[in-house]
């Protein structure tokens, strides 16, 4: 009886297994197949009469052109934004997770998540009103008599940097907050009871315990910041090419899919190397810590 039941179960389970297939198929068809198609496009020789010839011309064009300089610049800006985000986000997350009392906490968290749910074009566009030639800052400075002529603050790399910092800060604060909130107060109190100062406790206890949040936050900011394309388009005018802007230029304006695919893959590889390097860097201090013990 038991055996028969098991066999029946086995059959029904395997028959209904097909319901779990669409998710995997969807992911394969729309994420992994396209990936191979992009690789294929980037190495396909277009003049071949029939069949498929491999060419690396497009890669050579990318590597030898000043476009490679754009990758380097995007990398530096993304790195700068990430580091500055981390420096600004940590105190805020620390305050929200460990210092603020319950009465204020929910309100502050609500205000933090609100921009998250707001259309991001609007968030970015709102800075135009602050930085513009006739914007808020120029208006105030002129009224106060600090400047005579309006300052030129928009359409430059500084403005792009500022707005990227603004947009990505909540992405850094959220993972930091959620990890800091889980830290047990006992550990901090124990450290203080044993005579450590606040700074020592922060450096030896709180920060090491929050490292996984730092890691998530850095990846959440760095990866999209590297491929950024909307912020330069809205804030920076047309003159500031970033990796994202160049990719969209190749595919949507120049219609040069081969070069675009090669450029996408080269910049994707650069990003992958950075992420792996970062993972390795995060793993090193942990190993050292374990060896000490």
């Amino acid at each position: 009886m038991k055996i028969k039941e098991n066999i029946n179960n086995f059959i029904t389970e395997n028959a209904s297994f097909i319901f779990s297939v669409p998710a995997v198929l969807w992911q394969l068809l729309f994420l992994y197949v396209p990936f191979f198609l992009v690789v294929y496009t980037s190495v396909k020789k277009i003049s071949a009469v029939a069949g498929f010839d491999i060419t690396f011309d497009y890669y050579q064009a990318i590597l030898s052109s000043p476009y490679f300089y754009i990758i380097a610049r995007s990398l530096i800006i993304a790195l700068g934004v990430t580091v500055l985000c981390l420096i600004c986000a940590y105190p805020v997350a620390y305050f929200l997770a460990l210092k603020v009392n319950r009465r204020w906490k929910n309100g502050l968290l609500f205000l933090l998540t609100l921009p998250f749910w707001t259309n991001f074009l609007i968030q970015i566009y709102s800075w135009v009103f602050v930085l513009d030639y006739n914007g808020l800052i120029n208006m105030l400075l002129l009224k106060l008599g600090i400047i005579q002529e309006p300052l030129h603050m928009i359409n430059n790399t500084g403005a792009i940097f500022l707005v990227m910092l603004y947009y990505y800060l909540p992405f850094m604060i959220m993972p930091l907050y959620s990890i800091l909130e889980k830290i047990q107060h006992d550990l901090i109190e124990a450290s203080m009871d044993l005579g450590a100062t606040h700074w020592q406790t922060l450096r030896r206890i709180t920060i090491p315990l929050s490292m996984s949040g730092v890691k998530t936050g850095v990846l959440l900011v760095f990866v999209p910041a590297f491929g950024e394309f909307v912020i330069p388009a809205v804030i920076g005018g047309a003159h500031h090419m970033f990796v994202g802007s160049l990719i969209s230029h190749y595919f949507l304006v120049a219609r040069d899919n081969q070069l675009g695919a090669a450029f996408t893959i080269v910049s994707g590889l650069v990003l992958l190397v950075c992420v792996l390097l970062f993972n390795w860097l995060c793993a090193v201090p942990l190993q050292q810590l374990q060896q000490k013990e």
Partner: protein, 274 residues
């Protein structure tokens, strides 16, 4: 005012106390000012009776009337809502059946597949999707957008639902089988109701992500379909009108409502009386 911020637990050394109770709250206050200053200015200018950003002239609600009269905006909103709702339904249906009908072992092993869309910049996803659709000569439009947004959605739905599903009391599912329910009955009458908070929360997330998505829409919408973000982008690019500020203000009100709903569901989910 500052003393209300500090909790009583981690206080002791007086030197640090002044740092914790004065410098940190001021820094956080500055951060919130930084976060909300542009949004306030944006809302303020939606009531400005001046077509350009040239300073303040006088109060008006003219832009709101113009916004509601704009057929283009309503069409874009309709398209966005259709695409968002379809993506939510599709990703929840596909996601929940994957979690339940797949064997536990294979679900655990395949889970990593679904993190792929989160691990790369969205523009790479968009380029891939565009290549796929042009390779198979699929006409760009609402369907291609739904495909892309469902892909984005699965990246959130499956980890959230899986996390919730493995936390469920498995004896409830076993009890259902023991009492003679089929797998389908168990799925619809036991598992889905138990997963409801997670389903609603992740559905809301996918809805917002789809409604907010610009990059995939920009690549895969083609010329026939305009979504709300594409409409906003087009207006910004071609000399903005304060109509966009009015639209932003309305959207801000809606999103605050969504955040409240979301946090309410979250409290309901975690605040079960013990």
């Amino acid at each position: 005012m500052c003393s209300t911020f500090t909790t009583t637990t981690a206080e002791g050394v007086t030197g640090m106390r002044s740092f914790g109770s004065y410098v940190l709250p001021i820094a956080v206050a500055l951060f919130y000012l930084f976060l909300y200053l542009p949004i306030f200015v944006l809302i303020l200018f939606s009531f400005n009776d001046n077509a350009f950003t040239c300073g303040w002239s006088s109060f008006t609600t003219h832009w709101y009337y113009e916004l509601f009269a704009s057929t283009e905006m309503w069409l874009a909103l309709k398209n966005s809502l259709i695409i968002a709702v379809s993506s939510v339904v599709l990703s929840l249906a596909i996601g929940s059946s994957f979690i339940f009908f797949g064997s536990r072992e294979s679900v655990r092993r395949l889970l990593i597949l679904f993190y792929g869309s989160l691990a790369m910049p969205e523009i790479v996803l968009a380029v891939g999707l565009l290549s796929l659709f042009s390779f198979f000569a699929v006409p760009l439009g609402a369907t291609t957008l739904i495909a892309g947004h469902t892909l984005l959605g699965l990246g959130y739905v499956i980890p959230i639902l899986h996390g919730r599903f493995i936390e469920l009391d498995q004896s409830l599912i076993e009890a259902s089988y023991d009492l003679g329910a089929t797998q389908r009955q168990t799925f619809f009458s036991i598992v889905l109701p138990l997963l409801m908070p997670a389903l609603i929360a992740s559905g809301l997330l996918v809805f917002i992500i789809s409604l907010d998505d610009f990059i995939i829409s920009f690549f895969c919408a083609g010329a026939s379909v305009q979504t709300l973000p594409l409409y906003i982008f087009a207006v910004i690019r071609t000399g903005a009108s304060p109509m966009i500020n009015a639209l932003s203000t309305i959207m801000l009100i809606f999103s605050s409502f969504f955040v409240l709903l979301f946090s309410f569901l979250h409290i309901r989910k975690t605040g079960i009386p013990q």
